[in-house]
């Protein structure tokens, strides 16, 4: 399982890369590998205000549909439209292919997210139940 050390993670298996007041968000390797072949991505709406944990999109694979949650509160300032025509990019490289850029409302919200080591342990527990 690829879990880059320089990112933050959520229990819903999203990753966050913070750059100043903005952050790129995407889905983790755990998420893409469990979903299997991804066939459709419904992207968030641009310029909308979202709260942390709010549903902002949908990812459909050959096996299931999963809700995409916004890990942090803020405004959606960019979306990766390439994913609309090539959803499989999320399987190919889920960290290079971000889904959206969020302008943060409150940087202190980042403290609730997991660092790579904690997320790695979280994934292990999710897999084994121990």
């Amino acid at each position: 399982m690829n879990i880059p050390a320089d990112l933050l993670y959520t229990k819903d298996h999203e990753w966050i890369r913070v750059e100043g007041d903005q952050c790129h968000i995407g889905i983790s390797d755990f998420a893409q590998s469990h979903l299997g072949d991804i066939v459709f991505v419904e992207l968030p709406e641009l310029d909308i205000e979202v709260g942390a944990g709010q549903a902002i999109g949908v990812i459909e694979s050959v096996k299931a549909v999963a809700t995409l949650f916004c890990p942090v509160g803020g405004t959606i300032v960019e979306i990766n439209e390439e994913l609309e025509s090539s959803p499989e990019l999320l399987n190919e490289d889920c960290y290079a292919n971000w889904i959206a850029v969020v302008e943060l409302n409150d940087k202190s919200e980042l403290e609730t997210l997991m660092e790579a080591s904690a997320y790695s342990e979280f994934c292990r527990q999710a897999e084994t139940g121990v």
């Binding site: 229990k11 819903d12 469990h34 979903l35 299997g36 066939v39 459709f40 419904e42 949908v58 459909e60 694979s61 050959v62 096996k63 299931a64 549909v65 999963a66 809700t67 949650f69 609309e84 025509s85 999710a126 897999e127 139940g129």
Partner: protein, 327 residues
């Protein structure tokens, strides 16, 4: 495992029950529900509804069209079809279709019918599909549901799911046609769908059989809300389709016409009309008026009536135009 008793056959209500069970009911126990719909087409979460249905047949037969939370292709339900839903807390069951379909296979084995799970989320008898399955994950909870064709009207199914040949392009999920069969055709003896339902429930629930409850008045109220606000709405069943483009051409005695529409979130977002007819008004004005209108017959008709279609297309009647835009 707790069984939810849900005697409703209203598809919008039933879709709302599923949404309530996975998103709002905080139950430490797993949930099971067997339910049925009156004649309905259920499209997948990311399908373009009008690419999947035959609107003329659906209107004539009074078939309801709803969208489900899970993915995949469009299916037809009627009261010869039985639906089963599991909502479990263990997200490790994610993508494990065999676990949820095995009880159906086992039940049929008990009844003397050999069925098997096929790789593509289906259960088949002699290679013909009678059960389609899909999953929807919401946080740590997982919903698995499936259809079971017991003695459905296959002829109606084929007609309802036979879309027009209009040129529509979208990134939405396309349905895959399968050869289908009803379980009743394969049973050695005769069995009603109600009897089959009981045998299936016994097999799935084992010692938990009989641990059931109806929805409480508070729950029913919440489900009704979800039903009215979302599942019974045009916005959800049609308007939540992925963006699509529609191109329609036709030859009339007065000339040829070529119309192209882009539809996003159920609304006409771009429109071009070409043709070799004579018109008083500038056709760009008509295009301009159509943009921003919901792609829905009643809305488009009132838009055309408000600006007088004859200004731009002198020989074209409203019904002709509507017939062209909605096939």
């Amino acid at each position: 495992m707790i069984t939810i008793i849900n005697p409703s056959t209203d598809p919008c209500f039933n879709m709302a029950v599923e949404e309530y069970l996975i998103k709002e009911l905080d139950s430490p126990e797993d949930i099971f529900m067997l339910w049925q719909n009156r004649p309905t087409v259920v499209v997948g979460r990311n399908q373009n509804t009008i690419e999947e249905i035959n609107p003329a047949f659906i209107e004539q037969q009074g078939i309801t069209v709803v969208r489900r939370l899970s993915g995949g292709g469009a299916v037809y339900h009627d009261q010869g079809n039985l639906n089963f839903t599991f909502v479990v807390n263990n997200s490790r069951d994610f993508a494990n279709f065999e676990k949820f379909t095995l009880p159906v296979v086992d039940t049929l084995a008990r009844l003397g019918v050999k069925a098997e799970y096929s790789g593509r989320n289906d259960i088949t008898i002699q290679g013909r599909k009678f059960s389609g399955n899909a999953q929807y994950k919401h946080r740590h909870r997982l919903l698995h549901h499936g259809t079971i064709l017991f003695d459905s009207d296959i002829e109606a199914m084929v007609q309802a799911l036979n879309p027009s040949k209009a040129k529509i392009t979208s990134k939405g999920i396309k349905s895959v046609r399968s050869r289908v069969t009803n379980i009743s055709e394969h049973l050695p003896g005769s069995l009603s769908v109600a009897e089959f339902k009981r045998v299936l429930a016994e097999e799935i629930l084992g010692p938990d059989y009989g641990q059931d409850r109806p929805l409480s008045p508070t729950e029913l109220k919440r489900v009704q809300q979800l039903c009215c606000r979302k599942h019974a709405s045009w916005d959800w069943a049609y308007g939540s389709s992925p963006p699509f483009n529609l191109r329609r051409t036709a030859a009339f005695s007065w000339g040829n016409i070529d119309i192209r529409l882009d539809i996003k979130r159920g609304m006409i977002s771009a429109c071009r009309i070409y043709g070799d007819y004579f018109a008083r008004g500038d056709i760009r004005e008509l295009e301009y008026h159509l943009v921003g209108t919901l792609y829905r017959q009643t809305e488009v008709r009132s838009c055309l009536e408000a600006i007088s279609l004859q200004e731009y297309l002198p020989q074209m009647g409203y019904d002709e135009m509507i017939g062209l835009l909605f096939v």
